[in-house]
Amino acid sequence: MVLPLAALLWEAKKDGAQGFWQAISNPDAIAALKLTFGAAIVVVLINGVLGTITAWVLVRDDFRGKSVVNSVIDLPFALPTIVAGLTLLALYGPDSPVGIHVAFTRAAIVLALCFVTLPFVIRTVQPVLIELDVEMEEAARSLGAGQLTVFRRVVLPNILPGILSGSVLALARALGEIGSLVLIAGATVHDTVASIYVFNLIQDGESSDAAAVAMVLLAAAFVLLLAVGVLRFYVTRHERA
């Protein structure tokens, strides 16, 4: 693991700082990085909200088939990403039976990233919600707090670390995703995400430019992992004390 990453660093630095900056500040590279970070942030917001709602439904609600729904959440972890891309292409591509054709647009990128990052927030919020004492909410309600106040003042502070760490993991995943995107958003050379941009550079033999953009993705991954570590440290502060 260490050696390949060292080789990557070496290749990125081979052309010196100037070459590195040139590769990064290439308009196509900037566009790709912007699109990647933009789409990833949009997706994380969508999954942050809908993931929290889904986690709440899975813990507090009760309906037929709930356990099946609960198992289905992990599907994006188990399904190969290329298959995920193909499923989206089948339903939302040119042959769409429902008349929604978003393939090769930014909506497709967001859709694919929503698919692959769906479980993260749900799976970090769910255990916290299970542990959370319902009595605390009842106490707040008996003291006259409305539904919204209870959620905002009692539930949210407790599950926020879970939402955040799930979101950070999802962000890391979304930034590096390629498999689900190549089929539904990969045909265009320009206006594509960073991972596909890097992939195309490698295919063209421009490995030092590829390494430079890859370094940006690697650095982002490191920072996000660090953020998860800090969050984990913060969450367990009571247990460690």
Partner: protein, 264 residues
Amino acid sequence: MPRRIVLRGVALLYLLVVLLAPLAMVFYRTFENGLEPVWQALSDPLTVHAFEITLIAAAIAVPLNTVFGVLCALAIVRRRFRGKGLLNAFIDLPLAVSPVVVGLALYLLYGRTGWFGPWLQGHGINVLFALPSIVLATIFVSVPFVAREVIPTLRELGNEQEQAAATLGATRWQRFWRITLPSIRWAVIYGVILTTARCLGEYGAVAVVSGRIEGKTETATTRVDDLVQNFQTSGAYAISVVLALIAVAVLILMTLTKPKEEAL
């Protein structure tokens, strides 16, 4: 309570639109002309070969990463050493970093102008665009799963039982096989399932290093891509359905073996 129904509706609709409806569509498209074309597509020798490559890579990567994962978990939980934090962070890296970046790193190491490439080629060993690079890429991306599952279980377990066994004269091996391993076995199994799923489904890193030569270094996932690009969609759907069925089997196994304590 209407609010409850609304939230339930929102959650289920989201799952349907993003997850279930697309998956159902692939199954429909695959079987809309009956079983015959599916069987034909799957018995294409190139497709069979692609599945073989995928299985070989998984068969090497899964046992290696299982042993490595358990050792790493034991080291991280039970021992104190310099660089422990670093090891802990490094294990997670494949989860966060793009598979393309992993592929590029291997490419630079073993390529024609890479660090090891020329030497290996001089000795008649081709790593890049051959099976070894596919195996390496698969190993790299599936490193974290076993360790990630075993670490929280080991923490929970504590080491009193092992100490008790040690005072009764059990050797290190005896303690591992008789006490530690049986206690963490479900976490290990769960980790192995996740590792296997990741190995079979890897695309990005393999796509970079394998060269995707039809009938030689194509894996099941890269073949799906190539078939779609060549407008042979029925073949792509057939492979996808097989991979999706494996994923469903993995889900069922995961539900059955999931450790009760869900850790962050």
